[in-house]
Symmetry: C2
Subunit: 352 residues, 2 copies
DNA sequence: CTGAAAGCGCTTACAG
DNA sequence: CTGAAAGCGCTTACAG
């Protein structure tokens, strides 16, 4: 098996497949193996001269610590698991772009704290035994609220003592981080009022498992009341695609005969469906009807007119998920769970 | 430190923080530790009766194999690393939705083969020492072609012998998977010709580091030649945002004075910029000017009119990346590297 | 078919 | 400040 003719080999024993251990580095640096470990870990007890000698030897041998051995010894993984719950049968490209953005900022936040992220997309058979198999120190769960089986599974894991923080769970009993939905809805509604709209309907649902929809309706209703206006719920039907929910809600609004001059939709995809239906029915947006959505997904920027929306601070969202998880792991407190939001006024609501 | 009053403890020695090892399971099942290991690994040499007894004992003790110990022993990680190269300073929510979709299908493909995926987003300081630290058996790199420093870094890692397969590299010297760009461009161009367009310009670049842009221009030129039509390159300027590149390319087309009746843009974001500019200049799309993009990102579905595009089979893309990486790891061959594409005709090119 | 034993490559008390 | 030694929890020849 030996590759004795290998030109790049340092010594006959260190050919191409050679992988240095801390013992090899120790020999190369003329110190003990334990000193190598301390030196490379940055233990301040090691003298500067020794540290340099070890670092140099490690560099020469291309040495890297075997993380599996280190983890076995310390019991810490330096890794967080992130599970994205999808709908059964859903293509990965149809995952909500909001979820992808959140995944990206979550990985970035973990990385900023020196943690790796073990990511998986799960839709039917769930597996959250990361701590049990010592693959990760904790778990962040994101994704489709509709997949109740998934949320049930992870709630059970949390009850078994796993460290879990989530975004989008319909359940209590899972530690969560969410957008400041009430504030966002108030911002959107006040903005429409400032633009001169008064008969503002809100496309939402009182029965959706999505907590944020109820919170957004609440914020809308508060802002309306504060302005002395009557709130009006335009309910969407469960079980349809979001766009279709928006279309149908607008159809009902129109056929009700009761006039309206603006719509606040509790998510962007519903708003885009509503926008299509409004335009199909000949309403000028925003001249006749103003429209604001919620989530800040990219799709809205390309609609005609571009969709006004409320956007969470994605970076803060990732950071809060990770920090809350660290707090759960450490057994310490963490009071931040509401992600700040801001209004993105675009063409669908701004009347020049 | 002991939590002796713990009510749920099974025995005084197995309280809340207790974590069973294979030795505990062995004792519980009345076999040796090595038999536990074999039984749980599904080694067929173990008798069925023993296997059941061990499985039952493991269940009772809530035992899960410590993957770090297993990995240390076997030297295999069962993990693939996935690095998404971002632009420096780029917010994670602005990562190309195409890249996110690819990330999703890559993770899914790895998972379907029983592999975990260690995901990271890198933009400035790069780290690809996954194999060296025994964190993963190989690496898939995706992302922004523009970040040359990133691609340089990973090319160097590949030259050091790391197993790497990529999507989007401007370099040779990295094993790659790509869309069937020529075929996709031919489909788009033939489609425009079938719709009655003849003076079709292609927004592309001869100097872009993006290999796929050159391939797409080539497919366009072939289809034009085959129909006896003259190709026309509408070059975009480097260094601008994609949308702006599309806008300016259209502005130049118009101001050139030479008539055109359709545009094939080599990516959707350029196409969306072109669409905005066309409409701003009063061109009816598709009545006066037909338009097709490339990539199949979601944004195009919401434009007015919706953008026709060419979409790769994302699931196949993830599968090919993973299978090619496995082949590289195993040292075997793998000839599949071109992802099939299909035309998605939408409102921007279909004349009723 | 099963068991006793070695060893994967680290970190960390313990001793000096 | 450094070294010798134990041990993290597995898998896998080797022996029977």
């Amino acid at each position: 098996m030996g590759d004795d003719l290998d030109i790049v080999s340092l010594t006959p024993a260190r050919g191409r497949g050679f992988r240095a251990t801390s013992f090899d580095v120790a020999e190369e640096a003329g110190v003990s193996q334990s000193t190598v470990s301390r030196a490379l870990a940055g233990d301040p007890v090691v003298s500067e001269a020794t540290r340099l000698r070890v670092a140099e030897a490690a560099r020469r041998l291309n040495y890297q610590v075997d993380r599996n051995a280190a983890r076995l010894r310390t019991g810490k993984t330096g890794t967080l698991a992130v599970v994205v719950i999808c709908r059964p049968g859903q293509d990965r490209k149809d995952v909500n772009p909001f979820t992808f953005a959140l995944l990206g900022s979550t990985c970035a936040a973990a990385s900023a704290r020196g943690f790796e992220t073990l990511v998986s997309f799960q839709s039917e058979s769930f597996n959250g035994l990361y701590q049990e198999q010592r693959k990760a120190d904790g778990l962040i769960v994101l994704g489709s609220t509709e997949n109740l089986a998934g949320w049930d599974y992870f709630r059970e894991r949390a009850q078994s003592g796993d460290h879990i923080v989530c975004w989008g769970s319909p359940h209590d009993g899972l530690d969560w981080v969410r957008s400041d939905n009430r504030e966002g809805a108030r911002l959107a509604t006040r903005h429409l009022i400032e633009q001169g709209f008064t008969r503002i309907a809100c496309i939402s649902s009182e029965t959706s498992p999505q907590r944020q929809f109820a919170e957004r309706y609440q914020g809308y209703a508060e802002a309306m009341a504060q302005a002395g206006l009557a709130p009006r719920l335009a309910p969407f039907e469960e079980g349809l695609a979001r766009e279709e929910q928006g279309q149908r809600a607008v159809a009902h609004l129109v056929s009700s005969g009761k006039p309206f001059d603006a719509v606040f939709a509790v998510c962007d995809q519903i708003a885009l469906g509503a926008l299509g239906e409004l335009r199909a029915r000949g309403f000028a947006v925003p001249a006749q009807v103003g429209l604001v959505g919620f989530d800040g997904i990219r799709d809205g920027a390309y609609s005609t007119p571009p969709l006004s929306t409320v956007e969470p601070d994605f970076q803060a969202a990732g950071t809060m998920l990770v920090d809350r998880l660290f707090a759960a792991i450490a057994g310490s407190d963490c009071d931040k769970r509401r992600v700040p939001v801001s209004l993105l006024p675009r063409g669908s609501s701004v009347r020049k």
